[in-house]
């Protein structure tokens, strides 16, 4: 047991000491803060105000109404220029020149015909700013609508009232009632969890493979297996590397917890005003979800690291490992392929099947738990299948590993690997 402990210790310490670990551990919380702060910072009104010229070619009250609407958005500073249709061409030319020398950002013209046609051209330097163009579009629609209705004799106040802001809010309902989470936040959380599960499982399993290969290449393996059983070595390796994964997972989870519970203080550091912070929707990450994610990370990691250990044991060089790991990588990537269909319908048939198949369950089930309510029976079934498969794969892998680590030369075929697994 002391020997296994020595292996665990080495794998853990040597990894935690690397720059790579330090950077990725810090980057996790930084990423979390960025995705929360960024939208908040974007919505603060620090955006540039566009100075535009509105050319009124005899539109009666429409131009004035449009100016009011645009002014309200806070993103446009409108100068009204009245002209008659005969001189419109000359005005356009001079305004185009103004845009070119950056005197103004752009211009648009409305005439009497605009009310009927509803077609307006905006010419400006930056027409690809989706946000600004959306604001412009909305203001224009509103101005035209009000103007049209008013001209038919409807009270402008009534029109204004009918125009009241309409907002579709999507709220997630669980068995415990409405959560107050928005659909967007839930989708985002589930998506991020899926990606993180994929990344950490891949990362740490591949680490096991590299570690196996290093010992094989340097022949330290001969010294080690003459001191301990191959299974002890593999066990120590898998537990040690997995420990690093859980350690990092723990740091990230704590950082996430801190961010949720002390968001005002943390975001205050980044000069996000308190009233803004209150409006930031953070997905509620319950202890249940963290527990599910940790359990699936552990089982998924054990399953895949055992497979990657076999890859490491059956090759002689890094270049061979690249190729030999393809079949195992495919299993992981297949889970990514169903990620979006599952996100769109977390209770659907595909999602249920993918969360029962042990090779995709570690990535898909946490997504489902984050995005919807998963029946306890399904969760238990998924865990049981994954656990049983994991134990079977670890058992087989240990047998192949035991022989593979001491084999040099030609890469074994799939048939040979299976024979090694059966061999006593």
């Amino acid at each position: 047991m002391r020997k296994v402990w020595a292996v665990i210790r080495r794998e853990f310490i040597e990894r935690v000491r690397t720059k790579w670990f330090l950077i990725s551990t810090i980057l996790g919380p930084v990423f979390m803060i960025v995705v929360t702060v960024l939208p908040a910072l974007l919505t603060t009104k620090t955006g540039r105000v566009n100075s535009v010229v509105l050319v009124d070619e005899g539109s009666a009250t429409l131009a004035e109404r449009l100016r009011t609407q645009l002014g309200r958005t806070g993103r446009f500073d409108v100068t009204l220029v009245a002209t008659d249709p005969e001189r419109a061409g000359a005005v356009t030319d001079s305004l185009t020149a103004q845009v070119q020398i950056q005197g103004i950002d752009g211009f648009l013209a409305v005439s009497g015909a605009t009310l009927e046609s509803g077609s307006v051209e905006y010419r400006g330097r930056n027409v690809s700013s989706i946000r600004d163009m959306a604001v412009l579009d909305r203001a224009l629609r509103q101005a035209l609508l009000i103007e049209r209705l008013t001209r038919r004799g409807i009270d402008p106040a009534l029109v204004q009232e009918a125009q009241g802001r309409i907002d579709l809010k999507t709220l997630r309902i669980t068995k415990r009632g409405a959560t107050g989470e928005t659909g967007e936040a839930t989708f985002f959380l589930a998506y991020v969890i899926g990606l993180v599960m994929y990344m950490v499982i891949t990362l740490y399993s591949v680490n096991v493979m590299r570690s196996v290969l290093e010992e094989k290449q340097t022949r330290i393996i001969e010294v080690l297996v003459s001191s301990m059983k191959p299974f002890q070595l593999m066990l120590g390796k898998v537990v040690g590397v997995g420990g690093v994964g859980l350690f990092q997972f723990g740091i990230w989870a704590s950082a996430g917890y801190a961010l949720v519970h002390y968001k005002t203080a943390i975001l205050g550091i980044f000069k996000v005003p308190a009233d803004q912070v209150a409006s930031i929707q953070l997905p509620a990450v319950g202890a249940g979800l963290v527990g599910v994610a940790a359990a699936y990370f552990l089982l998924g990691y054990l399953l895949y690291s055992a497979l990657f250990a076999v890859v490491g044991a059956s090759v002689n060089a890094d270049s061979e490992a690249q190729q030999a790991q393809q079949p195992v990588m495919m299993l992981l990537i297949a889970s990514l392929l169903v990620l979006f269909p599952v996100l769109n319908d977390p209770g659907g048939r595909l999602a249920v099947v993918a969360s029962l198949v042990p090779f995709s369950a570690p990535i898909i089930m946490p997504i489902r738990v984050a995005a919807s309510e998963v029946p306890p029976a399904e969760l238990a079934g998924s865990l049981a299948i994954l656990g049983a498969t994991m134990m079977f794969v670890v058992w087989g892998s240990a047998r192949v590993y035991r022989i593979g680590i001491l084999m040099y030369g030609k890469r074994p075929s799939m048939k040979e690997l299976l024979r090694w697994a059966r061999q006593s």
């Binding site: 020997k3 210790r9 080495r10 003459s226």
Partner: protein, 320 residues
Amino acid sequence: MTDHDLIVELNGITKRFTGHLAVQELSLAVHRGAVYGLLGPNGAGKTTTIRMMMNITIPDEGSVRLFGDERGGRHHSARIGYLPEERGLYKKMRVRDALTFLAEAKGVRRANAARKADEWLERLGLGDWRTRKIEELSKGMQQKVQFIATMLHEPELLILDEPFAGLDPINQDALKDIVVQLSRAGTTILFSTHQMDVAERVCDHVCIIARGRKVLDGALAEVKRVHGGTHVAVAFEDGEGGAAAIASVSSLVAKADDYGVYAELALLDGVDPQTLLERLLRAGARLRRFERVEPSLHRIFLDKAGPDAAEETKPEVARA
């Protein structure tokens, strides 16, 4: 000698790999305190034999006993120091950490292992490198670190596979000194090599294997006596006349190696050197040197395991 003194005992071990026989019915015994040389040309089966001792591969037939016990190397790892033929260490690890880990893997307590690592590093002049990464060390230093890793846990038995291969003369000498020191302190040492000069200087017992079979086994002095035959070194005052003089005694000589300054003559079985001397004088040779010499291990090795000995693989044993 009692059974208690048998440290390594191989009984008729055979190992087959697809298509060829790596080791065939090999038996040998290493007694406590011996410096045992396992000699043989490349591909003779030395490494396979050692791996079977270490429990890394399992013999198809026959048995391996270490310290009088059949359970194999892994169960005695704390008592054995093993240096594999191909060297390597964890490149990214610090020197002391790597040594400590490898000692822990053999069951040494951590604190103890770290202290011993420091002592050994100091002793081999690597004290300033203990916290450096292994990849920063020169190749010679890395080899020293690996030797330390083999000996750190103070094993009773050292098994070294080609320990001198790839070492420069300085490190070769340093390692030879360590082997001699450990041997004096009572450590049993078994090593494989194809460098006969080293084996001749260090071993007290040799076993020559070729093509997976043992061709010769015994105490070094005894092997030389039994298998060397009678060798005489002769030199003539008149260098030119030497060849003619040697030709005149060709009926007594099995093999003559003319080195220019002197010639080494291997006499046929049963020929008395005195007869040779008489015949040379009678032929009119003026001798400057006439001396009975021991055959070199190199010579014996070539005779027994060299290309000329291809067909002669039946085991012969010389008992001390």
